[in-house]
Amino acid sequence: MREAPRFHLAGESGLWVELGTRIDPALSSLARALAARIEEWPEVEEAAPSYAGVLALYNPLATTMESLRERIAEAWAALDPEELPPSRTILLPVAYGGEYGPDLEAVADHTGFSAEEVLRRHASTLYLVHLIGFTPGFPYLGGLPPELATPRLPTPRTRVPAGSVGIAGSQTGVYSLESPGGWRLIGRTPTLLFDPRRDPPSLLRAGDRLRFRPLPSSDFSLLAEASARGERTWEEQL
């Protein structure tokens, strides 16, 4: 028997459906399935899943909060784990170290591994995309090997190039847009994580698995140009 969700108002057009309070891959897949179900309803404009809940934005002229709450509770109780949306495994090319990963040596120093060993451990892990957010296409990833954890830079960089792969404490992630940032940069992908010419524009989706594939630095520019042209520069593992 699944625990009943807790409902919280998020304005007159929003309902925050709290399914739990911990990071738990099983729970985030259920949140994804619930969001997909809710979003099919005509009175719901959008349903965004996250670690342990769903934000439903609805039309308050088409339903009431009370009836939506009831409908969601019923859908949650009847949710069949078998009907989870399929999970993909994406292989993302990454040029590690050098100009693309200026902090790889610092991470090696901090962790006590050689740069090659940091690269090997980072690239041999299968990560889970918990959710997309913060900036367009940015994946919150779970699964960084604990021994690679490294604190953020004492002073953030004013400009981190899009595609930069970084470590911040026990997290790893990929900057989807150029922005300021304090993560330790160990590599960079030439693949656009967010491309408004695509629909959906984000390459990754919550629930996807992600693996980084080391790329020779000499191939970076070629792939970056291809990605900018809208060509596919990533692979899907079946």
Binding site: H8, L9, A10, G11, E12, S13, G14, W16, E18, T21, R22, I23, A35, E45, E46, A47, A48, P49, S50, Y51, A52, G53, L55, L57, P60, L61, T64, M65, L131, I132, G133, F134, T135, P136, G137, F138, Y140, S176, L177, S179, F194, P196, D199, P200, P201, S202, R205, A206
Partner: protein, 331 residues
Amino acid sequence: MILLRAHRPGFLSTIQDLGRPGYLKEGLPPSGALDEPAFLAANLLVGNPIEAAALELTLWGGEWECLAGGWAAIAGADMKGRLNGEPIGNWRSLQLSRGDRLELGSCRNGCRTYFALEGGIEGTLVLGSRSTYLRAGLGGLQGRAIQSGDLLLARTKQERGEQSSQLWEEEQPGQQKVPRALEQSSIPNYPDPCILRVLWGPQEERFPAELRAVFSSSAYRVSERHDRMGVRLEGSSLAPPKGSDLLSQAIPPGAVQIPPDGQPMVMLADRQTTGGYAVIATVLGADLWKAGQMKAGDVVRFHPVPLEEARTAWRDFRAYLSQLPIHFYSL
């Protein structure tokens, strides 16, 4: 066809429409005009469908030169518009002729004004909207703010040589156009202090009764840090005793986030889509446009209301918007 050149583009001018909702799970905020009543009034005064894009001017409006004439309308914060040096008023449409110069100054009340051109301002259509989202550099004019020398073009459907489409309504041939304005009684005001009605939640449980009392009884001042993403306020701290961190989750429009420093931040249309700070309350959809008109130094108070009142406010607000054209009169 109407063609304008930005002689001086103002403080921050971007092309906006009703935005692109539906992409929160992609990390993409909806963007769109921050003051929907003023945006719609400008569009409707010039006879555009509500989906047409207009220019959103911020704090001061700059100077615009007309290269090819046509109908325009202006609505929102009063920027003391002048056409060739003559005051033109606000919340009205007007005909621009080749060679005209439209000057828009700074505003005392509010901070955003909408400038609509007949047919809608052309801009890059991204995922169903022409709204500019500066952070990702998409929509509008090359995804950026208007710069000096930029050209803005608007064409009616006929001029674009299009047949009927979903976006553009049929224009009525032979319709004689006259300048129009919105009745004084239907013009929203941008009061300072501004009262924002809110609903408690989603995370009001994080805040003990004393802090909730502080929230609903204190005056907050808008800091220098306000933009299309959000408005940072300064005043009595609301830092929750057990910390404000939570698992990152989607941020609803109008969320009043409380970061660890206890200073509230109202999240607007270009907000980051997820966040990990507790949200004490959410601004009513019917009042969110007021937050889009707040600027540094303005005073804000929060007024929590029950859900039933918020529903009524939303219904009344949508009715007010749909009835705007009834309150136009010919000048």
